[in-house]
Amino acid sequence: MYEQFKTRAEAVSAEVCRFTTKSEALEYLIGFLRREGVADTPQASALWADCSFLEGLDRDTLRQVAGVKFDVTREGASQARFGISQMEWALADTGSLAQNSTAIEQRLVSSLASIHIALVPTSGLLPDMPSLLVRVRPQDCRYLAMITGPSRTADIERVLTIGVHGPDRLIIVFVDELGGTN
């Protein structure tokens, strides 16, 4: 399923990688942020929404090492260049990610930043949307968000252009250790 997901997601301009352990994933993430010039200045900061990946990690160290912030506000999100969140599911047949986005923080970091980094437990891979919809109860999942590639438009002369209102890059990081081995 992972290979199918990767093919489909890359076909819509998402960037996909996979790591066995959390620490490998974290190392990659920090390296990526640094390469991309993360800084505590407007339009250069990174904002990380609460998620299970963060459990057991020392946020203070992360703040110092990578210039990441964890208090997600609307102002903070609109200043951030990087938004990091954990998406619960991945749909192999369309290359989509899905998340219970009821908490506004999850939406802010994934919609206002220009680069969205999505951490996904490999066990969250599902074949398709029907298998997702049987898993969620809308009453308990008020805002079910699916994301397939970065924001795009073809509204001017039908020319496909990436990054309108949402992120112009979507980096998908699968982490096996977060659960399962699909």
């Binding site: 908490a103 949307m129 919809l133 809308p138 008020r142 079910l144 994301i147 438009t153 509204d155 001017i156």
Partner: protein
């Protein structure tokens, strides 16, 4: 047709930006769509969609009530109304009660249907469209020209002019840069807005959820940032089950933009927290505006199966020439014609329904399985019922309906027409007694019609007999096609009868909404063709074949003439088109073609009625290949040639460019001959080739095969 309307067509077909953009898009769309549906059984999928949407359309009240109950249980406020004015008032009241100054909107056709923006703006509230295409046309002060791509008619230069004014900076027409400008300009608007208004692609009764899809991500912001969210949803968007969302989402993005899924899909069930920690004030308006009436109409109920993908626009040969503006302000294209007739008023569809050439391309791709051309015919019929037939047409039908008079006039025309004959063509063919325009030569009326020649044709006596239904064109313009058909069937041991009191198949009257005339034609033909006991009733004109096989029945049904149905069904069962019968005879070994022939390249044009109404496309190709031709397929082989019976007379400004495209596609194959199974297409394409001067022979398959039977 009104002058203003004709002018809007003229402007559209002469707008190179528009026709260029639409042509480019529609050409790419076909193959992209096919690719997006790879590995998916489209018929099975649309069967399921049609079923679940049809169920919903029969239970609008129950589902609305269930939706309301569920959504309210989750904390949303639900307002149900049938009146667009009440919708506007409700939204304004919510805005005023909450001291709303600015509103951001994501794309919603329902808000356009009720002209919401001007209403709110008049009350002093700033309304910003955020979908890029909608924002562009809002800045330009225009209306959308396409349901999914509202600004498809504008060039990047025009967009850069608009944006330059907006940001007070001279911008180039670099598209990625323009998109960035839009992002930067709209971001503060999003952050400042007090209210977000969205539509809803789907509303789920079982759970009270609404589904929103965008590629840009604007709906996510519209539903997340402002403290109030109002979703305006037409009740045709209701479905019963949550699981069925996946069914619709499997088709909608593939059909709309050939994507597997749009970048963003949000399924929202009740209010969610705002950035400041408060809960969203969420309102959902379920709007009826004549949708229940539509559901109660046995004919139009199926229009509620529409999922608004706009693929019916994308494949329409007319739409790609004229674009959306000719159709009106809100809903455009084939389905738009139907929705305008209902949500606005029947009268408003008077001009635009005439744009449909009945080629059936939309019906083939509609994921809601809606018979769009048939519904447009029904609009035509109701308009005629309401307003009567125009006088000139009435005269024509009176003539067509009186076989002796009609045939007499056609004979007279063959004599009268002769002075104008230049070679094989004349400039004026009084076939439907109307004036014709340039772009194509028309055939002379044959000096001696088929009906007169028939008695001299010597046929072997055979046990098996078939009745030949010639149709007006073969009878009076192309009698040689009829002779060729007899030669072929005789070789297979079938004797051909030609019942002389057969008359016009009624298509001209039917396609103009004059069902009474068509019914009378049908009755005459049924009597004539069933008089003798024959195995087949064969026709070499697909339009006539469709009439005999399908339309007679549906005309009687819609006029309630049930006593005539058994005979009509009997005729339908015997009716067969030329290529299907001949293919069968060849397969059965009753007919053989000369062997080892090398006849060179040929290309084949699919006639609309043959391919899409009769589902015949392989038979003629196999026969021609078997005869020794080498098939070179043309681009868009099954796109309409622009003939459409009297369509080419009424809307020559549309018919002519469609024909030109067809000629170009034929020429590009390099084949010296183009074959087709319809005398109407022969008339259109042969006439076009003649004017064009290209040395390409335009032949009916019957003529080509008659040369190759053993």
């Amino acid at each position: 047709m009104g002058n203003e309307f004709k002018e809007s067509i003229y402007r559209a077909v002469n707008n190179a930006n528009l026709t260029g953009a639409l042509a480019k898009f529609s050409e790419a769309y076909k193959s992209n769509r096919a690719k997006a549906y790879e590995g998916i059984d489209f018929e099975e999928l649309r069967g399921r969609i049609a079923e679940l949407k049809s169920y919903a359309a029969s239970h609008l009240d129950e589902l609305s009530a269930q939706f309301q109950q569920q959504a309210e249980a989750c904390g949303a406020k639900v307002f149900r109304t049938s009146d667009p004015a009440k919708v506007r008032e409700y939204i304004l009241k919510v805005a005023q009660d909450n001291n709303v100054k600015t509103i951001v909107k994501s794309k919603s056709m329902a808000t356009e249907e009720i002209h919401l923006n001007p209403y709110l703006e008049k009350a002093g509230i700033a309304v910003g469209e955020t979908d890029l295409g909608e924002w562009i046309i809002q800045l330009a002060g225009q209306t959308p020209s396409h349901m999914v791509m509202p600004a498809i008619h504008m060039t990047k230069e025009e967009v850069s002019d608009l944006f330059s004014k907006e940001v007070n900076e001279r911008l180039t027409s670099d598209i990625p840069r323009l998109v960035k400008v839009a992002r930067e300009k709209l971001r503060p608007t999003f952050l400042a807005a007090d209210m977000g208004i969205s539509g809803g692609n789907i509303a789920v009764a079982e759970t009270g959820s609404i589904v929103l899809m965008t590629n840009e991500g604007n709906a996510r912001l519209v539903t997340s940032l402002p403290r109030i969210h109002i979703a305006l949803v037409g009740i045709e968007k209701l479905i019963e089950k949550f699981a069925d969302v996946a069914t619709i989402l499997k088709a909608l993005p593939r059909s709309a933009t050939a994507q597997l899924l749009t970048s963003y899909v949000s399924i929202i069930t009740g209010p969610t927290p705002n950035p400041d920690g408060s809960m969203k004030d969420m309102h959902i308006i379920l709007m009826d505006n004549r949708r229940s009436e539509m559901a109660a109409d046995p004919k139009f109920k199926q229009a509620l199966q529409c999922i608004r993908c706009a693929s019916c626009l994308n494949v329409c040969p007319i739409f790609r020439l004229v674009g959306g503006h000719v159709f009106g302000k809100v809903y455009t294209g084939g389905i738009g014609t139907i929705l305008t007739a209902w949500f606005d008023e029947l009268k408003k569809s008077e001009d635009i329904q005439g744009l449909c050439i009945q080629c059936g391309a939309c019906k083939d791709v509609c994921p809601g399985k809606i018979d769009i051309p048939d519904l447009i015919m029904e609009i035509r019929r109701r308009l005629v019922q309401q307003q009567g037939v125009p006088l000139l047409q009435k005269t024509i039908y009176a003539v067509v309906n009186n076989r002796k008079l009609f045939h007499g006039m056609l004979r007279a025309a063959s004599v009268a027409g002769r002075p104008f004959t230049s070679g094989k063509f004349i400039r004026h063919l009084p076939l439907f007694l109307a004036d014709l325009t340039d772009g194509r030569s028309l055939p002379a009326i044959a000096e001696e019609p088929f009906r007169d020649r028939f008695s001299r044709i010597k046929q072997p006596k055979c046990k098996e007999k078939a009745a030949f239904y010639a149709g007006c064109l073969i009878d009076f313009a192309y009698p040689e096609m009829g002779e060729a058909l007899i030669r072929i069937l005789n070789k297979a041991g079938i004797e051909v009868l030609f019942p002389l009191d057969q008359t016009c198949c009624g298509a001209p009257a039917r396609y103009n909404g004059a069902y009474e005339v068509a019914a009378s034609n049908a009755t005459d033909n049924i009597t004539a063709l069933l008089r003798e006991d024959v195995s087949y009733v064969i026709s070499a004109c697909p339009t006539c074949t469709v009439a005999l096989e399908h339309d007679f029945i549906s005309i009687f049904e819609s006029l309630g003439l049930t006593e005539r149905l058994p005979q009509a069904r009997l005729l339908a069962a015997k009716t067969v088109d030329f290529s299907t019968l001949v293919k069968k005879l060849v397969d059965e070994g009753r007919l053989s073609l000369k062997e080892g022939q090398k006849l060179g390249k040929i290309t084949y044009h699919d006639s609309c009625h043959l391919k899409r109404a009769l589902k015949v496309s392989e038979q003629p190709r196999e026969l021609l290949t078997k005869a020794g031709y080498e098939l070179a397929e043309m681009f868009e082989c099954d796109t309409c040639c622009g003939m459409g019976g009297s369509y080419s007379l009424k809307l020559p400004e549309i018919s002519a460019p469609i024909l030109q495209r067809k000629l170009k596609n034929i020429k590009e194959t390099g084949a010296p001959t183009v074959a087709m199974d319809c005398p109407g297409c022969v008339m259109q394409i042969r006439g076009g080739m003649d004017q064009d001067g290209a040395a390409i022979k335009v032949r009916h398959t019957v003529e080509l095969l008659a040369e190759q039977v053993k």
